[in-house]
Point group: C2
Chain length 463, copies 2
């Protein structure tokens, strides 16, 4: 059984994987071409809003506009909130203002916050004006918290109970309440000053006798989230402590809202995307729906940084032009040393960046990890030194050239292990995201050291 | 407010971030040094099992063994199940068999499955024997599903109800039931053949009149997971459709268990770790707690592959030894072309690998994405060609050398965009994880093309 490996251009019928069916996409575009609203509506009927959003991201801008126009009033708010930021503005601009207003009014306030926070002023205004007064106030309050904070992530509807209630009172309250949230999993117990003191799951309430006090049923793991906490830390807490929902408190410790795990999971996913793209030197928010010009702009600065580091490496080589002129074999072999160093450095750096993201690399073990990386570089360096020494001797018939190659390899792999760990650690201490900037620094170090060690030793030994 | 940037060696008091306090770790190790069980127990008392597991991962093996021995009977099963696989075996071997048996008996069966599935035969046996008969059978049944499948991830305790029940019947059933699971969020409605037909949240049940049929309260989004589905697809479904829990069915479509979002979130996190480490050429399961020798072994094969690709690139250079001997400037400049190509290729490849993981790159848009990447390569290539052409002229005073450098830059950046997208797509079609193997292929292409284009053009134009 295969579930993810036949995504691309597969002719097989769809299995239980969750990829958009290629034929369905073709059928939808065919309906758009023929301006056939009935066929379009039928084909899209069973698609989840998240899948419709994916579909809109995968087709080109021209088809997207026509599809949205044809789809008309069927377009709902969920689709907007699932859409990638990069094409949200375009889609909002395409939507008929009445359709947009209806779509937005269907959404929960935390989804509206997520939707409007990255929009330009006029679009933001248009959406806020479409909301009912009470919702608009709630959205504006959320927007007053810092970007990427728990306050922006939380929903305001909370089911709470005074700490002295028993199970019976909780059940009666919920059964008599008119406006329970659509989805909730816990009752939050609060003290008289509205400070949360614990969570009780609905399941425990269901399974317990009426006279038992709620405080007997408190969940063992309970985390209170400050509203100004960074969403990255929120996601970490949910993942680390297996939370399902957690109360959010304002500056005075009073209950302000609640965050549920599905939102935390989405943040975790975004943070990972950010890390993986930053490590590869691709700016944030890159999306397949971006156009050529946006993508070029986003990647350009990283390539420019790389050009500077490459020129630095070239300047090192230029110091040894005379040596290379005498032994052209050096020019043939020198990229090997630099390349091995670059790779080993990337290995160390990725492990370090990932370990910092998961809070596994801390002040308590940083020295041990640095020592380990250096030793790993040393061991691998010695092994590859032997291999390359032999290759050098066989290929160019020169034991001293082989020796120089071997020595440079050991030096560069040790330096790679050291730089690959120390550089991200220092960047984090300086408040710079290590995923963002480490790569360029580490490669510069391994290139410069690689060329310098190899050519320098060669100049010394061979001349 | 800073929550994650002062992890390393900070002297500040702990803020609300979730890093292990460095002083606490020092205090715990001091207690271990003094063999002071009372102090150790006090210091560890408030730590969550996940934090204790992190602590054990961060200290060295000698301290770990002494800490576990001193901690003695306080050691509980949760800690084991939170521990990184790489040191689980060591910790299990350290634990007193009675403590181990007690620890394991506390765990839910799905956690036991997660614990034993990667252990060697004798340790696995020891743990299974410690379980009660019914639990052992449940664990063995789960282990009969393929590795990394939904069947291994699910818990077997499900709260289900016949589809014809109303709210009142559901409430009465739950309130009279003696053994509801510790945590559950939905009732699963099943037909007479035990096939799940929908989920009803406990919150909806709480807020609805007794006579309303449960089928009126079905959640809109409902996904049934086949027991043999890959856990990666399970995590994708939870994230895509914002599921909180989903029923798992056996081959006949009958309810076999349930997966909850916290397990899916853990899988999502692992999959990300795997992708990020594989992209960097670090084998799976690398952990900071690994020793030098294990780490070396894991990284060695990737460096060996890189060595082969680097030697391939050298063979290309070797074809042009005569040209380089005449123009040593070529040796100085050639790494720039290769390095820019390597970087641009890594950018394209990372975007493609990530987009395949999130199902955003599919048969429907693959050609458009390839075209975009090639165009981005072309535009960036032309810009950097102009820059480097000018640098070539100024540095070496040779317009033809500048022209060669510029032309090679354009060629290599276009090839990088093409190879960076096509190679991962082809690997996925062939059933190979693109994160695992793309890097080596793409770098080989950009190195070989970079050196060949630059030196070949130089030989043609300059000689």
């Amino acid at each position: 059984m295969s579930t993810g490996n036949d995504t691309l251009g597969s002719d097989q019928p769809k299995d239980e994987g969750y990829d958009l069916d290629r034929r369905l996409v073709a059928g939808i575009l065919f309906a758009v071409d023929r301006d056939d609203k009935a066929a379009l509506t039928t084909l899209m009927e069973d698609l989840h809003a998240a899948d419709i959003a994916d579909l809109l991201e995968q087709i080109n801008s021209y088809d997207r506009t026509r599809l949205i126009r044809l789809f008309g009033r069927e377009f709902d708010g969920e689709i907007l909130s699932e859409l990638d930021e990069s094409i949200r503005e375009e889609v909002i601009a395409t939507l008929n203002p009445t359709v947009l207003a209806d779509a937005v009014r269907e959404l929960e306030t935390d989804d509206v916050v997520d939707l409007v926070e990255d929009l330009e002023e006029p679009q933001q205004e248009a959406i806020l004006e479409a909301l009912e007064d009470s919702d608009r106030v709630a959205v504006e309050q959320s927007l007053s918290y810092p970007e990427n904070s728990a306050g922006r992530l939380m929903q305001r509807e909370v089911v709470m109970a005074p700490e002295h209630w028993n199970v019976g009172q909780a059940i009666d309250y919920m059964r008599e309440s008119e406006d329970l949230p659509e989805q909730f999993y816990h009752m939050v117990l609060v003290d008289p000053r509205l400070r949360p003191i614990g969570n009780v799951t609905l399941g425990r309430i269901m399974g317990t006798k009426r006279e038992v006090p709620l405080t007997d049923l408190l969940e063992e793991t309970f985390q209170v989230i400050p509203a100004d906490q960074d969403e990255e830390d929120v996601a970490y807490a949910f993942n680390q402590y297996h939370l399902i929902s957690a109360p959010v408190v304002d500056g005075d410790g009073r209950l302000a809202g609640v965050i549920t795990i599905d939102d935390a999971m989405a943040v975790l996913d975004e943070e990972h995307e950010e890390d993986i793209l930053r490590l590869a030197g691709v700016g944030d928010e890159s999306s397949l729906a971006d156009r050529v010009i946006e993508t070029t702009k986003r990647r350009f600065p990283w390539l420019a940084v790389n050009l500077v580091t490459a020129v630095l490496a070239s300047l090192v080589i230029a110091q040894f032009e005379a040596t290379i002129a005498q032994f052209v074999a050096l020019a043939v072999l020198m990229p090997i040393v630099a390349s091995m160093g670059g790779n080993a450095g990337t290995q160390s750096l990725t492990v370090a960046v990932r370990a910092m993201a998961t809070r596994d690399l801390t002040g308590s073990n940083v020295w041990r990890v640095i020592r380990r990386e250096v030793l790993v570089g040393l061991v691998n360096g010695v092994i590859f030194a032997v291999v390359m020494g032999v290759v050098g001797v066989i290929w160019f018939g020169s034991p001293s050239l082989g020796g120089v190659l071997a020595a440079a390899m050991v030096i560069n792999l040790v330096v790679a292990g050291l730089a690959g760990t120390v550089i991200p650690v220092l960047l984090e201490k300086m408040g710079v995201d290590p995923a963002l900037a480490s790569g360029a620094f580490v490669t510069t170090v391994t290139d410069v050291v690689g060329f310098f060690a190899f050519l320098g030793l060669a100049a010394w030994v061979l001349l």
